[in-house]
């Protein structure tokens, strides 16, 4: 379920983008900002090092060895040969950074090349390349590095090559994985069909899409490469005297750890700061390049929707006798600077044992309404900003988390749309149903399992005892949905909220599941809030129907009434959209225009721009939800149906 719809219309000039810009994202992440500052500082200082009035880092003055930091003339002291530490530190950092970047670039280049070729061509080339990579990876990396250096001879450049070579497999594997996925996509097929050669496709189609992954991988390995090169220098195989990098400085200072710790502590702190800041910035870059963070959906949803109500209607004086009473519910989504009013004041009353349908197009807010009831809307970015949900005599928006948890799955249950993604892939279906039972009733696992099998029988699954041991991916779509229904019925809930339960199913299966649902709810005496976009389904099982548009209910009434004589122009248009078998001459009118964006709702009626009978006063003021008599209501100043009051 997507909470945010893609902007279809171009943005009006002068308005700020609703999406946070890259730089702002990066900076907002405070740790990344800290890393950026530290890294920036280090980089600036080492860049201007040749211009600074530093002492010569290579001149030895053995009489002045091991001076402590703070000695006049040597701010950071001297090392064991009397060389100024500040100067050596800065020059050494230059070398370390240069080496780290170069090694990363080399490893990235060759590794990505191998990964691209292997992932794109697949087959034999892939097998050979990946086997070679596996071979390289099976080698203990330090040994490989030592061996390479032993063959090439000591020296910073050779250490660089060694580290780069050793890290190629990492890139190769990552890039290959991504490339493989991309190569099967349609745009690659399209490019092939259009006659592009392999090289062309690889570099102009695939590479740009893989580039973010390459950059991310690079940013997460630069720090590591600096450390590894330092390790080789630490062993004496990297930088040769008098050239120093941070690693060799550490190695030299190591012997003096007890007598003059500053000689090793200072480069140690520097290498730590350098690598740490690189890692922080790398994380920040990674987050920025992740498209999900841009849409504000990366954060982990909390256990319950946040509630911050601006408008709280008074509690009704007496119990209404309905199973569930939703009063003026308002739910908003905050994405960047924009506020999307997904549910803009919805009131529903669900009677005992009745089936109420909630109909609307995608983006109308029907799913959000359903989720808001049990507080399952993802926060961030969702917040319930108004209204009440009254169950029994309580407003369940006000109860404690523990109370709500006890209600969920026990008194009020939900059935979701896509049974494959809503069932846990790693547990058997019997396990998942039994779990639902044991969450609310103190029964043993064996007893719960028995009940689960009984439920499976109830939802007409053949061979329920064996089936209970199956995993969701082993079952067909129809069976999975039955299982979801079984789970929802496990504790004899009085209210079932079904969010498009049949949309993901084949038409034939749809009918079966609908029938099942209908029979069961009558047997169990449960009230059902049935959410769908399909009027056909509504006509099958719903007693009453409510129509939603742009976050508000625009029509309410019995199914028969609404379907035969819709009051709201939108309802009329919706019904007209549905093809009816056997009536080929029926004109299918698409509704012109698009639903308004719920972050910028126009004043007045939300349907005004698309309504065939719009009049001037439709666009001003709040349109009330008028009672048309006989249980019918419509949010229209000029309803299509006049009913005697």
């Amino acid at each position: 379920m997507t909470a945010v719809s893609q902007p279809a219309a171009p943005q009006a000039p002068g308005t700020r983008s609703a999406r946070p810009g890259s730089f702002r994202l990066l900076v907002n992440n405070r740790l990344a900002a800290l890393g950026l500052v530290v890294l920036g500082l280090i980089v600036v200082v080492v860049l201007i090092t040749p211009l600074l009035p530093l002492q010569n880092p290579d001149v030895t003055e053995t009489a002045n060895r091991l001076l402590r930091p703070g000695t006049p003339g040597h701010i950071l002291g001297t090392d064991h040969l009397g060389r100024d530490l500040l100067s050596r530190l800065l020059w050494g950092t230059r070398v370390s950074i240069a080496v780290g970047l170069s090694a990363t670039a080399i490893a990235a280049f060759f590794g990505s090349l191998i990964g691209l070729v292997a992932g794109y061509f697949g087959g034999r080339a892939d097998a050979i390349l990946m086997r070679s990579i596996d071979m390289l990876m099976a080698f203990p990396y330090i040994l490989l590095a030592l061996g390479i250096v032993a063959v090439l001879g000591p020296g910073l450049l050779n250490a660089l090559y060694a580290i780069a070579i050793v890290n190629i497999p990492f890139f190769a594997r990552n890039i290959r994985g991504v490339t493989r996925g991309l190569s099967r996509r349609e745009f690659v097929d399209a490019a092939r069909l259009s006659g592009k050669g392999h090289a062309g496709i690889l570099f102009t189609e695939v590479l740009p899409n893989v580039l973010p992954v390459i950059v991310i991988t690079m940013s997460s390995t630069v720090g590591w490469m600096i450390l590894e090169t330092a390790g080789l220098s630490f062993l004496g195989l990297g930088a040769q005297p008098p050239l120093a990098d941070l690693g060799s400085m550490l190695g030299e200072g190591r012997k003096l750890l007890f007598t003059a710790p500053h000689v090793s502590v200072i480069p140690g702190v520097m290498i730590f700061a350098l690598v740490m800041s690189i890692n922080l910035v790398g994380d920040g870059i990674r987050d920025v390049l992740d498209p999900r963070l841009r849409s504000g959906a990366l954060a982990r949803p909390s256990a319950r929707t946040r509630i911050d109500r601006r408008r709280v209607p008074p509690m009704p004086a007496r119990a209404s006798g309905s199973a569930l009473d939703v009063v003026a519910l308002e739910t908003e989504f905050q994405v960047g600077d924009a506020v999307h009013r997904a549910v803009g004041g919805v009131s529903l009353d669900l009677g005992d044992e009745e089936c109420l349908g909630l109909v609307g197009e995608s983006g109308s807010g029907k799913s959000v309404t359903a989720m808001s009831i049990l507080g399952l809307v993802a926060t961030p970015p969702g917040t319930i900003v108004g209204g009440r949900v009254i169950f029994g005599s309580e407003d369940i928006l006000e109860v404690s988390n523990e109370t709500l948890r006890r209600l969920r799955g026990d008194r009020i249950s939900m059935i979701f749309q896509d049974p494959l993604s809503t069932l846990h892939p790693l547990f058997t279906v019997g396990d998942q149903i039994a779990e639902a039972i044991r969450a609310h009733r103190p029964v043993s696992f064996a007893e719960a399992w028995k009940q689960a099998v009984q439920l499976l029988e109830l939802v007409r699954i053949p061979g329920p005892k064996e089936r209970a041991n199956s995993y969701p991916h082993e079952l067909s779509g129809g069976m999975r949905q039955r299982i979801c229904i079984a789970m929802a019925l496990a504790n004899d809930s009085s209210v079932l909220i079904a969010d498009e339960p049949t949309t993901a199913l084949d038409v034939t299966v749809q009918a079966q599941v609908l029938r099942l649902l209908d029979d069961l709810r009558r047997d169990k005496g449960a009230a059902v809030l049935f959410i769908t976009h399909d009027f056909g389904v509504v006509s099958e099982i719903c007693d009453r129907v409510a129509v939603m548009y742009a976050g508000r209910i625009v029509e309410l009434g019995t199914t028969e009434d609404v379907l035969s004589r819709p009051a709201h122009p939108y309802t009329r248009k919706l019904i007209d959209c549905v093809p009816i078998l056997g009536e080929p001459e029926r004109r299918l009118d698409a509704i012109e225009g698009l639903p308004p964006k719920v972050d910028r709702l126009p004043p007045g009626c939300a349907f005004a721009d698309r309504c065939p009978q719009v009049r001037t006063n439709c666009r001003t003021g709040d349109i009330p939800f008028d009672d048309l008599g006989g249980g019918r209501k419509a949010r229209c100043l000029y309803p299509l149906v006049e009913v005697a009051a």
Partner: protein, 524 residues
């Protein structure tokens, strides 16, 4: 914070405290009357005929005896397994009278046959046990023509020509006597199942962890005070120091110069120092390149500030070397010889004369190795000194074995200079192997710098075959003067080896031979 997480944290904290509380007192001591020695490396083998490294010698000298041994604190041979000996007038026959009633650790008797076996094994290619080698230092005894066991207590050595260092070499580990029975039993594996006549006998060898030897109660020279000795190889100098400071070892050799002061200032430790026959020098490529000119070689000797090196880099753990012979060979050392003074002006002048100003030099440096002291730091300081007189030095560092593989076959076509250090037992050894024309690498010698001076060759031959020490001394002194002037090497330093022990260790002293003699040591 989730309860699981909280509990885990608490559990860890508790465990840490508990471990600390329980172990705090227990870890401070090593076992009583057992000496734990921190070695610098894992031993290669415990077969004395096979070993070449001082590190191994330190263990061997406590498990085996030779016919003779060095007198305490000197390099003079005294009786050991041989009570006495006679040398023929022509210096070709040595007759040794052996001690009676001595047994090897495996119970077999020590006799003349054992002596013959030991040397035949090393020297006779047709000996059935020759393949338990190789025996790299066998050439110390290449002068031997034959060994005869006259009777159980008498053995005779016939030499091909007079060889002055013979007795001294017999005191060297290569001359230690092995148990024939053990060699016959273990063959190639004898190195891991050693059996000698020494004050301590072999108990176990745990790879890279320890070699344990225990007291030999039947030792002919009196059972040693210690119950046992454990040799722990700790290759990382820092860790060695840490172990010493934390009480994990009792005795440590080759203390890093920078840590010496720390131990000297601490009353819980005793520091020992002893000059030994050690030379640290730079081999100069006299065949080609700038160093083919004597003036350039001398210039380098003037340009390096050796005093500063020795005082500051080596923290006073060495003395400046004047020539190829270390002062530890007191009788052969030329006292009148002065080291090259630090004179960069003179160096520049010499370079100008030789037309070698601004020359570029390739310098082979090693990371470690027996007796190499602080090779990288010293090389860096040398590089800086030479830079001050306009010479550009490019350093190439190698791990020790790789380094030897590069340097020993000769520097031609590879480098202009290389570090080197030698520890020997006789003033003949080093010059004979490294300064003679007949010792070029292709002839099996170690003259990697291709130095050649027929006068020196003659002096060395004469000194080696002379039987009169006074005459030898004269010849060596002459040699030193010539070599000092020819400057085939840059003579840098003579090491004062050092060791540290806890205050509880008694009767320990360092030997000029660099051996670790523990038979008189006690703890308490």
């Amino acid at each position: 914070m989730s309860p699981l997480f909280r509990n885990t944290l608490a559990g860890m904290a508790f465990a840490a405290l508990a471990t600390g509380a329980v172990s705090a007192p227990a870890l401070a001591q090593t076992p009583p009357n057992v000496l734990i020695v921190g070695q610098i490396a894992e031993p290669k083998s415990l077969d004395p005929s096979v070993d070449t490294a001082v590190n191994d010698f330190r263990i061997l000298m406590n498990m085996y005896d030779g016919l003779v041994r060095y007198k305490d604190g000197t390099l003079e041979p005294e009786p050991a397994l041989a009570k006495s000996w006679d040398i023929s007038d022509d210096g070709l026959t040595y007759t040794f009278h052996l001690r009676d009633g001595v047994k090897f650790h495996d119970g077999t008797p020590f006799n003349a046959d054992a002596v013959k076996f030991t040397f035949d094994r090393m020297l006779d290619k047709d000996n059935p046990y020759y393949d338990t080698g190789p025996f790299p230092l066998a050439f110390f005894f290449s002068a031997i023509d034959s060994v005869t066991a006259v009777d159980d207590s008498t053995v005779t050595f016939k030499l091909k020509e007079p060889y002055a260092p013979f007795l001294s070499n017999l005191a060297y580990p290569t001359g230690l006597i092995v148990s024939p029975a053990a060699v016959k039993q273990y063959g190639k594996d004898f190195g891991r199942h050693p059996s000698g006549t020494g004050p301590f006998k072999f108990e176990e060898w745990d790879s890279n962890t320890k070699v344990v030897v225990s007291r030999n109660d039947d030792y002919w020279d009196g059972a040693p005070p210690l119950d046992a000795v454990v040799f722990r190889p700790i290759t990382d100098a820092n860790t060695r120091v840490a172990e010493m400071l934390s009480g994990g070892i009792d005795l440590m050799v080759e203390v890093p110069p920078d840590n010496l002061k720390q131990f000297q200032d601490d009353p819980n430790f005793k520091v020992y120092e002893q000059a030994g026959p050690h030379v640290w020098f730079l081999i100069l490529n006299a065949k080609e390149g700038p160093f083919a000119d004597k003036r350039v070689r001398q210039a380098v000797n003037y340009a390096i500030d050796k005093k500063s090196l020795v005082d500051n880099v080596l923290q006073g753990t060495a003395e400046v070397a004047a020539g190829p012979t270390p002062p530890a060979f007191a009788w052969a050392y030329d006292n009148k010889l002065q080291p090259y003074p630090y004179d960069p002006e003179k160096a520049r002048q010499l370079l100008k004369e030789a037309g070698a100003e601004g020359a570029e030099l390739t310098f082979y440096v090693t990371e470690g190795g027996s007796g190499m002291l602080d090779p990288v730091a010293m090389a860096t300081a040398i590089q800086a000194d030479l830079a001050k007189v306009g010479l550009k030095v490019n350093i190439k560092t190698f791990e020790w074995n790789t380094f030897l593989g590069e340097v020993n076959p000769g520097l031609a076509g590879k480098a202009d200079m290389a570090e080197m250090a030698w520890m020997t037992n006789d003033p003949d050894t080093l010059p004979y192997l490294a300064l003679r024309t007949g010792a070029f690498p292709d002839k099996g010698g170690f003259n990697s710098g291709y130095y050649s001076n027929p006068k020196v060759d003659a002096l060395l031959e004469k000194a080696r075959t002379s039987t009169d020490q006074a005459e030898r001394a004269k010849l060596y002194k002459q040699m030193q003067e010539i070599v000092h002037d020819d400057a085939p090497w840059a003579f840098i330093a003579n090491w004062k080896q050092n060791a540290v022990s806890t205050a509880a260790v008694k009767d320990f002293s360092l030997q000029p031979s660099f051996f670790l003699i523990l038979r008189d040591v006690s703890k308490g």
